[in-house]
């Protein structure tokens, strides 16, 4: 196990280093100069150069990479070109929106998916199963930004139950904040829940066909009891995998939703930063997300071991 962990950590580190290179290179070739963007139409060339110097854009690429990467190690993400504030602070604020949103959406999708998946699996081929599968098919097919538009139309504008978007901030009270995240969370959760339900169902069905389920029944366990006591835990591994993927997806993939609900989240930060060529922000945030993904995958692997004793020993 130790050895396995050690190996994983090495891979994790390598991934991050390569990723940082990829990110830096990809982004540095983006055409468009932050300085001239900031100064606008009537800016004088010398003004622009002055600003470039101020931002350290006149250094060589290598210098910039090293100082940036070095900073990352120290947890210093650098100073935003446009906002002129430490990227760390911006990221912290944005995470304050994206992280809860992701968790909220994930929670919703789990709350929907688990019961639905179990029901569908246990009633395989029945009406319930068919209905649930139908709904998930629809959930998979609906583009979430379109779904979001419809949600706003109904709940914000027609019924005015929710505000159409924006984020009042946590200091305005937990419930107020959560409320403002509700519609986006629903929009995000729908497809995720659909996927999760299907995975849950199929992996449960796999397990239900296993010999040991027959053993359990032969012991005298009822169908239902056998499912809860023996099938569920065995069915968890694929579900965990998907959960991991979904979390990292939700953390970063909410861009469009964040735009529709004008939420100040990570995705939108990157989107804006790309538009304003605030390269250092883009680089740092993307790296952060990559790190998050790698970390989550790592944790999911550990969770496997927790679920399945067979994975505890070697590897």
């Amino acid at each position: 196990m130790i050895h396995y962990l050690f190996k994983r950590c090495l891979i994790l580190l390598a991934t991050l280093i390569v990723a940082s290179l990829v990110v830096f290179v990809t982004i540095e070739v983006v055409p468009g100069d932050p300085a001239s963007f900031m100064l606008g139409l009537n800016a004088q060339p010398d003004t622009v150069n002055a600003l470039r110097a101020e931002l350290g854009l006149d250094q060589s690429r290598l210098q910039r990479y090293l100082s940036w990467a070095g900073g990352l190690l120290k947890g210093d993400f650098g100073i935003s070109y446009t906002y002129r504030t430490p990227v760390v602070d911006m990221v912290r604020d944005r995470l304050g929106v994206s992280l809860p949103l992701a968790m909220y959406a994930l929670l919703l999708s789990v709350l929907i998916a688990f019961p639905a998946g179990v029901l569908a699996a246990s009633r395989r081929g029945g009406v319930g199963d068919t209905a649930i599968m139908g709904v998930t098919q629809l959930g998979l097919a609906i583009p979430n930004f379109w779904f979001a538009m419809l949600l706003v139309l109904l709940f914000a504008i027609k019924l005015t139950w929710f505000s159409a978007g924006g984020f009042p901030g946590w200091d305005s009270g937990f419930f107020v904040a959560m409320k403002s995240l509700t519609l986006p969370a629903i929009a995000l959760a729908l497809p995720q829940a659909s996927i999760l339900t299907r995975v849950m169902r199929s992996s449960l069905l796999d397990v239900l066909n296993e010999d040991f389920m027959r053993t359990a029944r032969a012991k005298g366990l009822s169908k239902r009891a056998a499912l809860w006591k023996h099938a569920l835990r065995n069915a968890m591994i694929p579900v965990l995998t998907i959960l991991g993927l979904q979390f990292s997806f939700l953390l970063a993939g909410a861009i469009i939703i964040e735009n529709v609900f004008f939420l100040p989240g990570l995705g939108r930060l990157i989107f804006q930063s790309i538009a304003s060529r605030d390269l250092i922000v883009v680089e740092s945030v993307v790296m952060l997300l990559v790190f998050a993904v790698v970390l989550v995958t790592f944790m999911v692997d550990l969770a496997y071991a927790w679920v399945d004793p067979r994975l505890r020993g070697a590897r």
Binding site: L138, F145, G267
Partner: protein, 271 residues
């Protein structure tokens, strides 16, 4: 019973594919033709689905939009298979070797990047447009197929008939092409349809944020974006393209599931 699963999907897919194909030869109206005076017409005998905010015929727009979405998705999936499958097969053939390790780590790396963001960055680097959208979507299809084919191939490599082939002196390449590939095509086809539908969603998403297909070529995603502000006054403009996307994706998914059952019952639970 198998037919029941495949039929609705096939019908939907056929509907939109034929619409796309027809649009190459004929559309009710020229989608490049803008006539402001004729905008927001409600459906009638001339414009079956009415006209948009530029007075263009919605039906024609949808048909050409289908063409765009499908083309983008197909090529993207193609890229994914073209690179992914050989990579996966190689990794499986050389399982445990440094090459295998390298390929798989590279996959993880790509997986580690938030797809939509990279797509946005790519389009930011090389400018928005269908081609770059395709590349962006395609890149993220590669690891999907690489993993799938590696996993499937590994299970085939364990079978005795591979041993028999080795005894007959066949090499890894020959075995992969003769024995492995034919035995994983079903999986690939099924996954293909799924990735296809994801591709369509992705294209719609990119176009929706203005990084996908560029005007004047219509695309469902951009039609949605254009009609966004009008959804309250002219809801049908946002409704049609939305439905088009939903139905196409739905069709493809249904088709995928149907194929899954039909081609190989053993894959029914396969994910």
């Amino acid at each position: 019973m198998k037919l029941r699963n495949i039929l609705p999907g096939t019908l939907l897919v056929f509907l939109f594919f034929s619409a796309a194909l027809i649009s190459y030869l004929w559309t009710p109206f020229d989608v490049a033709l803008i006539d402001i005076k004729a905008r927001f017409k409600s459906p009638d005998t001339i414009n079956w689905l009415g006209t948009d905010h530029f007075g263009r015929d919605m039906l024609s727009m949808l048909m050409v939009g289908a063409r765009t979405s499908i083309a983008v998705a197909i090529v993207a999936v193609g890229i994914g298979m073209l690179f992914g499958v050989p990579l996966g097969l190689t990794a499986a053939a050389k399982r445990g070797s440094w090459l295998d390790e390298l390929i798989m780590r590279a996959n993880d790396l790509v997986f580690a990047f938030p797809a939509l963001l990279i797509a946005i960055m790519i389009t930011a680097v090389y400018g928005p447009g269908a081609v770059n959208a395709i590349i962006a979507i395609g890149i993220f299809n590669i690891p999907v197929f690489a993993r799938l084919s590696r996993g499937a191939a590994l299970s085939i490599w364990k079978r005795d008939f591979i041993q028999a082939a080795k005894v007959s002196g066949k090499g890894a390449v020959r075995i992969s092409s003769e024995h492995i590939l034919p035995n994983i095509t079903n999986l690939l086809i099924v996954q293909g349809t799924i990735q296809f539908s994801l591709g369509i969603l992705a294209e719609a998403g990119l176009s929706f944020v203005g990084l996908g297909t560029q005007p004047p070529i219509p695309s469902w995603g951009r039609m949605l974006a254009d009609s966004q502000t009008l959804i309250y006054t002219e809801p049908q403009l946002a409704l049609y393209p939305g439905l088009a996307i939903v139905l196409t994706v739905l069709g493809l998914n249904l088709l995928g599931d149907g194929l899954r059952d039909w081609l190989d019952p053993r894959l029914r639970h396969d994910r």
